[in-house]
């Protein structure tokens, strides 16, 4: 059939229609599979919300919301149980506040140093160290808090109990320091160079440029870093579970031990709590509170970060 050179050429360059159809099918199939993979994240969120809400609903059939939100004793595993979330919240907030009061100022200073002062060589060397610090498992930080920092603090503060909120708070602060640093540094480095050069041309020193020009310009990103750090601190589990004790204790005193929301979940999971019991449901109720808190922080952080991305 292939008589003329023209025909031969056409046969050589035109793939068989069958082959084309197969190719198009693979292309379409690939798109579907990739989409399904991307959609998994949506289902994970739905799964989390569904599990937390459905178990919490059962919990709130037995416990009034008023008691949950106003009572200041948390003893769900006692014979005469009481379900006020405040002791867990006070523990969570106290430890987080200590952690943030370390991570935020130090993180901001370090970010200023890294973005405005450090020579590129130093920055190249420091970033990996910070990443290493971030990569250490949290359980190791917990051990460090209990076995090293607490005894150290006890040498300075007589009468400090073995389980207290101060030590895990400090350790958690150092633990989230790399995170706040890298987020704030990203925000500062996104500030256009022209703004800095303008300030230098006006005779501003580096320090003034940093605090009068760079920080105000990067403020939404820096705020986002703080809020995301807050979300981290609130959800951190192992450091507090090891070093802060597991007694629910309504106090804001860092010298005392207290359980956090996360510690309570760990404590219940370690014991033999039957599926369907009120103790079992209570971890989902406090888990829902924890999820809502971090969700709020994450959403605010996300919107602030988007704002600085749009600005520059």
């Amino acid at each position: 059939m292939l008589n003329t050179p023209d025909d031969q050429l056409r046969a050589a360059v035109t793939p068989a229609p069958n082959f084309l159809r197969k190719r198009a099918m693979i292309d379409k199939l690939a798109r579907c599979i990739l989409f399904a993979a991307a959609a998994v994240s949506v289902f994970v969120t739905i799964g989390i919300v569904y599990i937390l809400v459905s178990e919490s609903l059962v919990f709130f059939e037995n416990v009034s919301l008023t008691e949950f939100l106003t009572s200041t004793t948390w003893t769900p595993l006692f014979a005469a149980p009481s379900f006020g979330i405040w002791p867990l919240l006070s523990g969570t907030l106290t430890v987080s506040a200590i952690a943030l009061s370390i991570a935020i100022p130090l993180g901001l200073l370090l970010a200023i140093y890294m973005s405005e002062y450090a020579p590129p060589k130093v920055r190249e060397a420091v970033k990996p160290v910070l990443e290493m610090l971030e990569g250490v498992p949290t359980i190791v930080y917990g051990y460090f808090a209990l076995m090293m920092v607490t005894p150290l603090l006890q040498a300075f503060i007589p009468g400090l109990p073995g389980f207290n909120m101060l030590s895990p708070g400090i350790v958690m602060g150092i633990m989230i320091l790399p995170y706040t640093t890298s987020l704030s540094e990203d925000a500062m480095r996104a500030v256009p160079r022209e703004l800095r050069e303008g300030a230098y041309a006006l005779g501003y020193s580096r320090f003034y440029t940093a605090i009068k020009v760079v920080i105000p310009a990067a403020i939404s990103g820096i705020t986002a870093a703080f809020i995301l750090a807050m979300s981290r601190a609130v959800g951190e589990t192992m450091v507090v579970a090891i070093a802060a004790g597991q007694m629910a204790n309504f106090t804001f005193n860092p010298m005392e031990g207290a359980a956090t929301i996360t510690t309570f979940i760990v404590q219940v999971s370690l014991g033999d709590v039957r599926h369907g019991s009120i103790g079992y449901q209570s971890i989902f109720a406090v888990g829902l509170v924890l999820f809502l808190m971090t969700l709020l922080f994450n959403v605010i952080g996300f919107m602030l970060r988007r704002r600085y991305r749009l600005a520059y």
Partner: protein, 311 residues
């Protein structure tokens, strides 16, 4: 005369201003370096403390080859490190293909519509969900709703979901850094979208994807909270069936449905004991964990460094 004096005092004023500014600059740089020193010495102190405390157990070869025991000096991490390896195999097998596929979709395929926005918001949010909430998800969904037990598979699943955002984000960043010309060349040669993705984009993005996968897995190795939540046992004095055996059919998957323990759980159970001898074991397990995660992070950093300095 008056103007000369004025000029001199002006100059003195400027000099003191310059000095003050210089001092401020030195102060900030000094503080920055001080914080760095604090951070680095924390890392060192942590490692040295664990190492010195755990040294008696670390030197003992039996530590790596024996099961946990009620006697501290006989207890070892055999079931823990085997468990960690098995759980990581499952985690890698699930999270890497899923994360890479999702990253490719979001970067290369997704149009700008509400569906894409929804997926992106979800990925961002999931990255910030505390790990213990994933544990609650696994407890409520896998253990009770699906009736699975506390197995290697469930642990691998929950850790996969946990590190999925890390892998998705690093895949996207790796793809974004590929020059547009690569894709255009492939399309110009007549490749369709899948062929371009498969034959050009994925190979070019490989270093970035590997880095992300290593960082994600190193995080999964150290995760404790979600594994505690699903109720993994701490006292496991046996090993799951070996995946490879001498008898037909040579490979089996029994280990996937076997009870397990992992390194951080073992360490936690030792830390929680009041006796000081168990703290030595905990420290030794901590050294093993730290060495593992630091090494994985170092490899990831090295790959990234190599890639950045190649061109």
């Amino acid at each position: 005369m008056a103007t000369l004096n004025q000029t001199i005092s002006d100059a003195q004023g400027h000099a003191s201003l310059v000095r003050r500014n210089k001092n401020q600059d030195i102060l900030i740089a000094g503080l920055g370096m001080l914080i760095l020193v604090i951070a680095i010495s924390t890392l060192l102190a942590m490692f040295l403390d664990l190492f010195i405390t755990g040294l008696p157990r670390l030197q003992d070869p039996d530590f790596y080859m024996s099961f946990p025991s009620r006697k501290a000096e006989q207890a070892g991490i055999l079931s823990a490190w085997v468990g960690t390896i098995l759980v990581m195999i499952v985690t890698a097998a699930i999270s890497i293909p899923l994360g890479v596929a999702a990253g490719v979709y979001l970067e290369e395929y997704a149009g700008s519509n509400w569906m894409t926005d929804l997926i992106e918001i979800n990925v961002t949010n999931l990255a910030g969900v505390p790990s213990i909430v994933y544990g609650l998800l696994a407890l409520g969904l896998f253990i009770y709703a699906f009736g699975m037990s506390e197995t290697v598979l469930v642990a691998g699943l929950v850790l996969s979901l946990l590190i999925l955002p890390v892998i998705i984000v690093s895949t996207r960043e790796a793809i974004r850094s590929i020059p547009e010309a690569y894709k255009e060349a492939a399309i110009g040669l007549g490749a369709d979208q899948w062929q371009t993705t498969y034959a050009y984009i994925l190979p070019a993005a490989r270093p970035g994807i590997i880095t992300g996968a290593i960082v994600g897995l190193s995080r999964a190795i150290g995760e404790t909270a979600p594994i505690i939540t699903i109720g993994a046992l701490t006292y496991i004095a046996f090993l799951p069936n070996a995946p490879i055996s001498g008898d037909f059919p040579f490979i089996n998957f029994d280990w996937i449905t076997s009870p397990f323990t992992v390194m951080p759980i073992q360490m936690f159970s030792w830390v929680s004991r009041p006796q000081a001898e168990f703290q030595i074991n905990a420290a030794a397990a901590g050294v093993v964990l730290m060495v593992l995660t630091l090494m994985m992070n170092a490899i990831a950093i090295y790959i990234r460094y190599k890639v950045r300095h190649k061109d």
